[in-house]
């Protein structure tokens, strides 16, 4: 929401004047009032620019006096995030503090105790600690803790800082960020693209350091994924080059682009032009262009007719990212499944409901004018099918829906396509729950009030309906003296979900009951040492406690446990999908999910098994299989996890030692 009047500026000036005129005793109260204007101004760019301009004047008038921000030379960058999260007025003071530091850093004002260099390194540290705001990708914890308005303030503040600040010192951190972001292979690549562009714009990356080389790969992948795309930067020029190029030249282009795509998970518009060209003129180059593995090549050879049609109908400059999804689909032999082929054929022929079309178009940042919503939808479907672990919930509290889409994409792709077709044409969805049909259009409310459209196309289509149905199922199952997910998960996700269900939270007694007994089931069901060395077959919808970096309870979150396996270093780890697209978080007690380098597949997060166990509060399992395994779980394992649990989220609950009949 913009500020429609100049009144906010006038109000601010008046309030500032009152602050200046007030005596020492009421300064604090006047500062609180002044902060309420800062709160409003920091919601807009023009407001921030105004505050930036006034920040040092405010400081000199004693705005920070008596607060922890009073001595800019003694501020701790690490603490900034905490105060921002705390909300107004702290966050408003904090924002103003950053703005004046920025002025000092840029030498626009001089502070007698703080050099410009010190201010600059302070701001760099702050930025690195707050990339989630700078990139508008808040973690689950942040999203739960902050109101929409406060998030907006933080996004806005860091947007301002990024555009005004000299970013040299944060280069290496940003490169790491790019790497970690892309390593997770998100379907929605906008953030990665923005970050890479930012680094490209603001830094000299031409050096020879490890970071330079790393970032060059990503920059090339986006802006010049081949020799000739570098030469013919202009879109039309590249098209012209393609028309005249011989097969050798095309092969070398295809080879380069295929490799960049596979290395980064990112696709450029040139790649789209190239693929469209060779699919017609040199189809034998397609496997190289998609950097296919052996299975993928065989799949292409068998189904090249359908795949060619899909490419020609779907791929475009802006819709290029689906090429990566297509390559992954081929690599997984998805076209060998008849229902998938039929589903895609069906999808090609639908007429999209106007409401759905609106949603799709709203989710695109820079759509090609000549590409239809249907083309984007097919492209989106290909992406989800190719990258099931790249599904994210965006800025929405809809982890359940995202988890469902990901699960269907892996284990029931045709069902997912069918659901996409139904919702796209009808803008409605029916699911069955315990002998009643839930019709999403007849349901009023889901978890999400206003969808954040920073989502992939399939999610934008499905989530509003899935969310409402999920919410209704939850409503129907509450009051049954057990966690509603017990009934909702199998109904929502399908027959892959075991009907056995264990939750350590006991509804009757409002306490954590028989935690050791509960853990035994978890270990008996999933730990290969105690479950008869069995591997997981299907994802398991698991409820976890989200904890802060101090281990304090924050809230609940839905994830999928995918597999439990030993790493090369003989460490047993739990691999899971965290639909919030941000696998790397700090959950306290040294529990920090990793997304790369610990045996994760792209898109997976992982934790040591016992760390994972210490955050789970509910899961599904087979009651029949697990019974004989319970006694094999050694007490030491249980004790270790119970200790972690009790000292973190457990502090927010009553603990009940009573034994429970599971």
């Amino acid at each position: 929401m913009g500020l429609t009047t100049d009144k906010v500026f006038i109000n601010f000036d008046q309030s500032l004047q009152e602050f200046v005129d007030s005596g020492a005793l009421s300064k604090k109260e006047k500062a609180t009032k002044l902060a309420s204007h800062i709160d409003i101004l920091s919601l807009t760019r023009s407001g921030l620019a105004y505050l930036y301009h006034k920040s040092v004047e405010l400081e000199q008038a004693g705005f920070f006096q008596g607060t922890s921000w009073n001595d800019p030379d003694k501020l701790v960058p690490f603490l900034v995030k905490g105060t921002l999260k705390y909300g107004h007025p702290s966050s408003s003071f904090e924002a103003l503090s950053e703005l004046r530091m920025l002025r000092y850093a840029k030498g626009e004002d001089v502070h007698e105790l703080l050099s410009a260099g010190d201010a600059q390194s302070f701001m760099e540290e702050v930025l690195v600690h707050n990339l989630e705001f700078a990139l508008r990708e808040p973690t689950e914890e942040t999203r739960m803790r902050m109101t929409e308005r406060e998030l907006k303030k933080a996004f806005n503040l860091f947007g301002f800082i990024m555009s005004e600040m000299d970013l040299k010192g944060v280069y290496e951190k940003l490169v790491d960020e790019v790497r970690m972001l892309c390593e997770q292979r998100p379907i929605r690549t906008q953030k990665a693209r923005e970050l890479i562009s930012l680094v490209n714009r603001r830094f000299d990356t031409s050096g020879n350091s490890e970071k330079d080389k790393a970032i060059q790969v990503y920059i090339h992948a986006l802006f010049s994924p081949s020799k000739n795309s570098e030469k013919h930067q202009d879109r039309d020029a590249y098209q012209q080059f393609l028309e005249t190029a011989n097969e050798t030249a095309l092969a070398s282009e295809a080879h380069e682009m295929g490799e960049y795509m596979n290395a980064t998970g990112l696709v450029s518009g040139y790649h789209a032009l190239l693929l469209l060209h060779i699919v017609e003129k040199n189809p034998n180059l397609v496997p190289i262009c998609l950097d296919l593995n052996d299975r993928g090549i065989a799949e292409w050879e068998k189904f090249h007719e359908l795949v060619s049609v899909l490419i020609l109908e779907t791929v475009s400059w802006d819709n290029c990212q689906c090429i990566y999804g297509l390559a992954r689909m081929l690599g997984k032999n998805l076209f060998s499944r008849r229902p998938v082929r039929v589903g895609l054929e069906n999808l090609r022929k639908i007429k999209i409901n106007p409401q759905v079309e609106k949603r799709i178009l709203k989710s695109l940042t820079d759509p090609d004018m000549d590409v239809t919503a249907l083309q984007y939808l097919i492209g989106g479907t290909i992406k989800v099918l190719g990258q099931p672990l790249g599904v994210g919930q965006g800025n929405n509290p809809t982890c359940q829906s995202a988890r469902g889409i990901s699960m269907w994409s892996q284990h029931s792709p045709a069902k997912l396509i069918d659901m996409i077709i139904t919702v796209s044409t009808q803008n409605n969805l029916i699911m069955r729950f315990e002998n009643q049909n839930l019709i999403s259009n007849n349901l009023i409310k889901g978890l999400v009030d206003q969808l954040d459209y920073n989502l992939d196309v399939v999610s934008v289509v499905l989530v509003p309906h899935l969310d409402k149905i999920y919410n209704e199922m939850m409503r129907l199952s509450t009051g049954r003296l057990d966690d509603p997910h017990k009934w909702v998960n199998p109904a929502m996700y399908g027959q892959w979900i075991q009907v056995g269900f264990a939750s350590c939270y006991d509804y009757m007694s409002n306490s954590i009951m028989d935690y050791p007994g509960y853990l035994r089931i978890f270990y008996g069901a999933f730990h290969p040492k105690y479950n008869g060395n069995q591997q997981m077959v299907y994802p398991n919808p698991v409820g976890i406690f989200i904890t802060s970096n101090k281990g304090d309870m924050i809230g609940f979150h839905a994830i999928s446990l995918l597999r439990v396996e030993e790493t090369d270093a003989a460490e047993l780890r739990a691999y899971f999908l965290n639909p919030n697209n941000e696998g790397r978080q700090d959950w306290g007690q040294g529990i920090r999910p990793s997304v790369h380098g610990k045996g994760e597949k792209q898109g997976e997060s992982s934790l040591p098994f016992h760390h994972f166990a210490a955050r789970v509060y509910a899961f599904h399992y087979s009651t029949l299989n697990v019974r004989s395994k319970l006694d094999e779980v050694p007490q030491e394992e249980i004790n270790q996890v119970e200790k972690l649990a009790k000292e973190s989220w457990g502090k927010s609950y009553l603990w009940n030692q009573q034994t429970k009949l599971w």
Binding site: L3, T5, K33, S36, H88, M146, R149
Partner: protein, 407 residues
């Protein structure tokens, strides 16, 4: 002119206002404030105001205040009204000044005095237990000619000596008496429900005459008010002025400020609720200062001075024919839920032309309200508005009072 005002109680805004006037004063309050006072050069006399003993009493305090040359005592809080009364009795050589202070501190006595003097009050009685309340309600029902099956007459109970709405309970039926009353409520004052539109005024008195009358429009008692009063109450200003002066005469109030609450009926009758003589809550004097463009806190203190000249009085108050340019209103925000963790400021406030500023603060994580709230409890902040139309002001205050800020 007073040689030195003894401010009974600690209030930063009052201290600051007094500093601006340049008049001599000393703050009498708990020893806890002493170090702050010293750091900020505030004349201060530490005194254990919650204790009455051989070493802590008005004669002793009088002696100690001699060092400051104090000759007028000003009560800032309900709890310091007797202290100020006792001191002023000595300063003015009139023991009845203290008795008058007691009048403000005992609501039954206050009502009786009002009744004798001819103000309209409800039926009232001192009660000592639940049975007493029921007997009172029964007599009230009889007087109201209740038929079988008709609802009981409403009864209010209030502690004799608490500020504003603290401990105030409305009982609508016999069963309410059992459910809502607690043994610790007694003894207290039981009173019939007064019909009419509730409002308060602040009358600044000097030499027994109203020097300045402010009328505060309540949008919702305890939540929101604005100044000056809206159109309807403004049309009754003369009536109200007369009635307040009558009350001042009956009570024999000579100096200071009274803050009575009234109920105006459709027949233009004023029912007397109660009155206080300290600084009213709800930031009323702050609003009053803004609308009438004078320092109401300083005026509050200064009009306690028996030796002030007419010229000096004229200087501190707005001119007789002063018309406020704007209405200033505020709404105090209370969490509506028992447990909440975030402050959510509605977007609509950003662009509201009447919005001035707020003092809302974020709660700490998972903050809970304790069950034993007094009166309206502590509000979490105030939103201030300013504008030219009293109807729009009313609408806004109503709207934001209902809006949920803490989720």
């Amino acid at each position: 002119m007073a040689k030195c005002f003894a401010l009974m109680g600690w209030s930063l805004p009052v201290i600051e206002s007094m500093q601006k006037t340049g008049r001599p004063f000393v703050v009498v309050s708990f020893p806890d404030f002493e170090s702050y006072a010293q750091e900020n050069n505030i004349p201060f006399l530490p005194y254990q105001l919650d204790e009455w003993s051989d070493t802590s009493n008005s004669l002793d305090l009088f002696e100690k205040l001699k060092a400051f040359d104090a000759d007028v005592a000003v009560p800032l809080y309900e709890e310091t009204v007797e202290w100020a009364g006792a001191l002023n009795s000595i300063y003015r050589g009139d023991p009845r000044v203290l008795n008058r202070a007691f009048l403000f501190r005992n609501k039954a006595m206050m009502k009786r005095k009002a009744l004798i003097g001819g103000l309209r009050v409800g039926l009232f009685e001192e009660v000592f237990n639940k049975e007493g309340v029921k007997a009172f309600m029964k007599r009230l029902n009889q007087a109201n000619l209740q038929l079988d099956g008709e609802e009981d007459s409403w009864v209010h109970i209030k502690p004799f000596a608490s500020a504003g709405t603290v401990g105030h309970r409305l009982l609508r039926s016999m069963s309410d008496v059992d459910e809502k009353c607690e043994d610790s409520d007694f003894p207290c004052l039981a009173e019939s429900h007064l019909p009419g539109r509730e409002f308060s005024c602040e009358a600044f008195i000097n030499k027994g005459k109203i020097r300045f009358l402010n009328i505060t429009e309540y949008v919702k008692l305890g939540y929101s008010n604005f100044i000056p009063e809206g159109r309807y109450l403004e049309s009754k200003r003369d009536l109200i002025h007369k009635e307040v002066q009558k009350m001042v005469d009956i009570f024999g109030i000579e100096y200071g400020m009274v803050h009575p609450e009234w109920f105006l009926t459709e027949k233009d009758e004023l029912n007397f609720g109660e009155t206080a003589c300290r600084i009213p809550g709800g930031h009323i004097l702050e609003l009053c200062s803004k609308s009438y463009e004078f320092d109401a806190l300083a005026a509050f203190v200064i009009c306690h001075d028996p030796n002030i000249t007419e010229e000096e009085l004229d200087e501190i108050f707005p001119a007789k024919d002063f018309k406020p340019k704007n209405y200033h209103g505020n709404v105090m925000i209370y969490p509506q839920k028992r447990q909440f963790s975030k402050l959510e400021i509605p977007e609509s406030l950003n662009n509201e032309p009447y919005f001035v500023e707020h003092t809302l603060i974020a709660p700490y994580e998972g903050q809970k309200l304790s069950a034993d709230r007094n009166g309206f409890g502590n509000h979490f902040g105030t939103i201030n508005f300013k504008g030219e139309d009293p109807d729009r002001m009313t609408e806004l205050l109503k709207h934001y009072e209902e809006e949920e800020f803490y989720v």
